[in-house]
Subunit: 411 residues, 2 copies
């Protein structure tokens, strides 16, 4: 692993190498942030152009029927479902991850009357915690968000627990949680299990049905390549669908949205979790993203992501340890998503120096340098070049400049 040519050889042997051409990528950058914003699918501009000109522009309001705009949440949801081990009729695309989480948390509490705790872990992704806090506040103190450390999680599932809310892959470390085991533990305690798939959907096999997951949400703009701020998705297991309802009971979740009935009556199935009018342009971009990813096959995506992270860790072990970096991600690839996180006390300015040199990862408080390996757009040589640049930055102390210590507005 001592030569750049080794990386090029790995790329030459990569069965997914041709898929990189399905994306538009700029020259001269090393992009290791597909876990924050997936790359632009090459098919998108023409598809969006058709939606804009031939649908919105030409057919106008008639497009709701003529071009099946009204089916977008279900159609895009089903395409995503195939990537996350969900059988038909359980996934819709809609709203944002945060909004979908709110719907499902409220529905879970409703399904477990008398139970007052939303259980999660302290280092969960903040917006998930915020949404639970907002719901608890709205419900006026009867419900609370309880946060425990990871080792205390199973022991904390008890007769007060209505729902266990967890991320499948930890956003800081990339650690994969055991979805089946934790779901089973939640069920033994009589609670529902709600999973956030933000860092797993589209990059590793997820088996929602097989793991008997109750509820899930996920993000459209990371590995699914749906574009910045893409619509999110949600999953409700079929067995629960007609027993729970959405607190955000908008007209798209009504059994007959165009009857203009003054009383809300939920649609059958998962569609009752829709709310407002589908975002057609954004949903089109997500549809193209999901299609572009899906062509590769989830097992091949997983295999390549694992190979990329293994390779990067090997290089980091050899070349970065002496510079004070520690691996924050699990060493066992079975426990690791498609990212490698390194800890360094000077992580913020080091990442800033790296980004200034067009090697793009991101920094997460307090000391995490995060490198994402979206398997269709990342090459082994990108891992090599990133480590090479890190070594240079450390050896020259290029990170130690005031401008690299300024926090950007968005990190």
């Amino acid at each position: 692993m001592r030569e750049r040519s080794d990386a090029l050889t790995l790329d030459a042997g990569d069965p997914l190498a041709g898929h990189r051409g399905h994306f538009v990528l700029p020259d001269g950058i090393v992009y290791l942030d597909g876990n924050s914003l997936g790359a632009l699918p090459a098919a998108l501009p023409a598809r969006l152009d058709a939606v804009i000109h031939e649908q919105w522009g030409r057919d106008l309001i008639r497009s709701w029927n003529r071009h099946d705009w009204i089916d977008l949440p279900v159609r895009v949801g089903e395409a995503a479902a195939a990537l996350i081990g969900a059988g038909p009729g359980q996934v819709v695309a809609a709203d944002s991850t945060s909004v979908n989480l709110f719907k499902l948390l409220a529905a879970a509490l409703d399904a477990r009357p008398g139970r007052t705790v939303i259980l999660s872990v302290e280092d969960n992704f903040p917006t998930d915690l915020y949404m639970a806090q907002g719901l608890a506040r709205l419900l006026g103190g009867e419900v609370r968000l309880r946060l425990v450390s990871e080792p205390a999680l199973e022991g904390a599932m008890d007769e007060d627990t209505a729902v266990v809310m967890l991320s499948h892959v930890d956003f800081r470390t990339g650690r994969i949680r055991d979805m089946a085991a934790l779901t089973a533990a939640a069920h033994r305690a009589g609670a529902l299990a709600l999973w956030d798939l933000a860092h797993s959907a589209g990059v590793l096999p997820v088996a929602l049905d097989a793991a008997e997951v109750d509820l899930a949400v996920g993000c459209g703009y990371k590995y699914l390549c749906g574009g910045p701020g893409a619509p999110a998705f949600l999953y409700v297991a079929r067995r629960l669908q007609d027993r729970i309802a959405s607190p955000l009971s908008g007209w798209m979740g009504h059994v007959a949205p165009f009857a203009f009935d003054p009383a809300y009556r939920p649609a059958p199935g998962v569609c009752r979790f829709l709310c407002g009018t589908p975002a057609v342009l954004a949903m089109t971009a997500l549809e193209v993203g999901v299609e572009t990813i899906s062509h590769a096959g989830i097992d091949r995506l997983r295999a390549k992501a694992t190979a990329l992270t293994e390779y990067f860790i090997t290089l980091a072990d050899e070349r970065l340890r002496d510079h004070g970096f520690e691996l924050a991600s699990p060493r066992d690839p079975a426990d690791r998503g498609a990212q490698v996180s390194l800890r360094h006390a000077e992580g913020l300015p080091i990442m800033a120096a790296l980004v200034a040199r067009d090697v793009i990862g991101d920094f997460r408080e307090p000391d995490i340098l995060r490198f994402g390996f979206a398997p269709l757009t990342t090459r082994f040589v990108d891992g090599w070049d990133a480590v090479e640049m890190l070594v240079e930055i450390m050896e020259t102390r290029a990170w130690d400049r005031p401008e690299h210590r300024r926090r950007p507005r968005v990190t």
Copy 2:
């Protein structure tokens, strides 16, 4: 008013006629449904193309800072604010109208502790009622939605009323409510006033600040021309902003979203009502729509819409009364938005026959034919041609066919 040439003369004298070129419109159709889906702004394709290629495609994640994606909700909100009489710092673009309504209803209830009623009128737009019903159900019976007839509205505002929720312009009839008077009445009862501007924003002067409105929501895809399913907007009067909070407390409403603080602390000002990651592509389309409308000036938009609806009503009076049509919209233009609604017992098949002949309005249960006059994209001759076609359909009984009685999925 007896000749098509009269309409052409009116169009020739229209000071806004040139603005029609700011939109892409298909040949050969009469589009009277801009109140359901605004037309495509001609500037959009190039703008969206730049966002897709030069921002998402080329600059990738860096665009959040480099191209100020993070400011889109505020920037688009401010552009909309100028159309609705809202001073700076009170409007953001986000989510859907339904979701925004939920946020503000919950915040209003929180601001009026002890009061348990959301008051509205029976014929309010259904999704607004559904959202209030969903919130009431979530709050477990302590809160209820009370619906009264229009004449009973002011009398029903009492010491139980937390918030009065009304549409500024009625979606069926186009009737404008007296925002200042009803807001003042709500305030006298100690309640907050929440207005839905779906059918007024961008087409008639709205004076939120002057009317001392507390809260408002509005739609991006009707007169604002933001594209199908565009993001919506919300308004919170400055005096309330730091005293209320959103139940959908997502990270974009946090004081420091990228600090990854586990506890939610609301941002100052209206930004606390943001929730998930901004939908960049959809928000770009809305921004272009709002800009395109704004160039015309709201007073000129109003003047032309009034002239268009007056002309259409004159023609309807002369030529449609004998065919069983009745005017459902107010006859006084001061009370009427930019639409004309006609009642007819056979409204459904008549509208279907009209649409089949490329004259596009829409039908609303039980008997309303709705014709929208978005002032920048509608000509006087469109009104003439629509009436001409209606007369022909009635005289030939062309509406009386089985295929015109089938309800489309989306109306």
